[in-house]
């Protein structure tokens, strides 16, 4: 074999190896694949296809100010690698901050989903509610799907340099979060609100894992913000509903609750005005 043939053969071998290398890497990263992570409220509350009990004619009684629990519904499988506990806690703290100033809420407890993971169903919810002394619990379920696709530039990933420099991987993350608020005593759904987000981005092959991780976290955060906004609107609608249909949900106040306070009523104001007029008339006459 001549020297030139040897060189050509060497180049071909190197090209094949590097292309395989990037291809294997690419496959490892999950190119053109779909990742999904989700938690289902219905599956959690009624596991193994359990049929929900008949609706009892029990009227929820909201004893203001409310003690509210806030938790993510645990994922179906412990192998599902969704958000970390720390990230979940951070997101729930943001939601908590949006509602903490509401006058009818005494406090909001962020409950780690590890507390809910051991068992399923309303029995677990009742146990946690007793533990925290909750009146109402807000359960956040979610569904996140991430797609990784390659565009035309990805053909140059074989060159290794292309894998570092060319943004040939397209990431698309779609997130749906839903918060359902339950009355703990009656297990009745009071109201719910959802939030959605779709985030797209592109990255180099080398950075695609990091980019995907960041996109997932960002999409979760934006969906939660959307959900919080919708939750505020739903809460206002719920308040109106309570005012209009007084029989459906009872609202009572804990003794002493009101804060507010000291407001002179119109009876006393009218009495004072009458007395002022009387005293003036009496003084003038004298």
């Amino acid at each position: 074999m001549s020297k030139i043939n040897c060189q050509i053969a060497l180049v071909i071998v190197i090209a094949v190896f590097t292309a395989s290398c990037t291809d294997v890497w690419h496959q490892l990263q999950g190119g053109s694949v779909r990742h999904g992570v989700s938690s289902s409220l219905v599956d959690y509350l009624y596991p193994n296809g359990e049929v929900p009990p008949e609706i009892e004619q029990q009227t929820p009684n909201l004893n203001l100010p409310l003690r509210v629990g806030l938790a993510f519904v645990p994922t179906r499988s412990s192998r599902d690698q969704g958000l970390s506990e720390a990230s979940k806690n951070l997101l729930l703290e943001k939601v908590k901050a949006s509602f903490a100033s509401q006058e009818f809420i005494k406090d909001i407890q962020v409950i780690p989903d590890t507390y809910l993971r051991s068992k399923t169903g309303f029995q677990t919810i009742d146990q946690v509610a007793r533990l925290y002394g909750l009146d109402v619990i807000a359960l956040v379920s979610y569904d996140q799907v991430a797609h990784v696709d390659d565009n035309n530039l990805s053909i140059l990933y074989w060159s290794v340099i292309g894998a570092y420099t060319l943004k040939g991987s397209l990431n698309e993350v779609q997130t749906f979060v839903d918060t359902a608020i339950f009355d703990v005593k009656t297990h009745k759904l009071l109201f719910r609100a959802a939030g959605v987000n779709s985030t797209e981005g592109s990255s180099t092959l080398v950075e695609s894992v990091k980019e995907m991780r960041e996109s997932k976290a960002k999409s979760f955060s934006l969906a939660m913000s959307d959900m919080t906004t919708n939750l505020v609107a739903e809460l206002d609608r719920f308040k109106e509903k309570v005012k209009q249909n007084e029989g459906e949900i009872q609202v009572t106040h804990r003794s002493g609750y009101s804060g507010g306070g000291g407001a002179l009523d119109f009876i006393l104001l009218a009495l004072l005005a009458c007395l002022v007029l009387f005293k003036r008339a009496w003084t003038t006459r004298k």
Binding site: K106, G259, G260, G261, G262, L264, D265, L268, L269, L272
Partner: protein, 206 residues
């Protein structure tokens, strides 16, 4: 110590009345600017923020709430301020405020927070009515009966007009009750003190 008013210069009295009212109004407005710092909050009082026992009464939920109580204050001042000296009113008001706040602290442990002047206004009203009754103006006895009826109604049932909707939060009716009771006790206490003072130092001593 002069507890009863003797001055008869109406112009000067009106000026003093306006100045006192303006000062109280400024104080009320100031309390409105930073309510979180001034309102009665049980846990913070227990932790040592004792000023809240007094300042909580000068803080309000909103400008409407403030306006309502300010109107009551003006009417009560119009009615009764000439009965006693400013020193008398100041001491009485302070005792009344403390009595209401300690009432919350010991009798209403479930009450987390409170704002509003109406408890004090109920107290001042009773003090004023007692003063008028001492002067033989028996019509004020009828006013006292109306107040007692109102206090019973709001503490045991509800009043026809729900003020909570007007001020944006529930009304702590216990404040009115504690204010009225402490006002009555303070009026009696001040009468006794005044009598002792007069007997010991004579009517013209100060």
């Amino acid at each position: 110590m002069q507890l009863t008013r003797r001055s008869s210069n109406i112009g000067a009295e009106l000026d003093r009345f306006s100045i006192v009212l303006a000062l109280v109004t400024i104080f009320l407005g100031f309390g409105q600017l930073v309510p979180a710092l001034f309102r009665y909050e049980r846990s913070l009082v227990i932790e040592g923020e004792y000023w809240r026992l007094v300042t909580g009464h000068f803080t309000h939920l909103g400008w409407w709430h403030l306006l309502l109580n300010w109107l009551g204050l003006v009417l009560i001042a119009q009615l009764f301020i000439s009965l006693y000296s400013y020193l008398y009113w100041l001491i009485s008001a302070l005792l009344c405020l403390l009595a209401i706040s300690f009432g919350f602290l010991f009798l209403n442990p479930e009450l987390d927070w409170y704002v509003g002047l109406s408890g004090l206004l109920h107290g001042l009203f009773v003090i004023g009515v007692v003063g008028e009754l001492r002067k033989g103006r028996w019509l004020f006895g009828f006013a006292l009966l109306v107040l007692v009826g109102k206090l019973i109604a709001e503490n045991l049932a509800t009043l026809p007009v729900d003020m909570s909707r007007f001020i944006g939060a529930n009304v702590v009716v216990e404040a009115h009750l504690y204010g009225a009771i402490s006002g009555g006790l303070i009026a009696v206490l001040m009468m006794v003190l005044n009598a002792i003072w007069t007997r010991r130092f004579g009517d013209n001593s100060r």
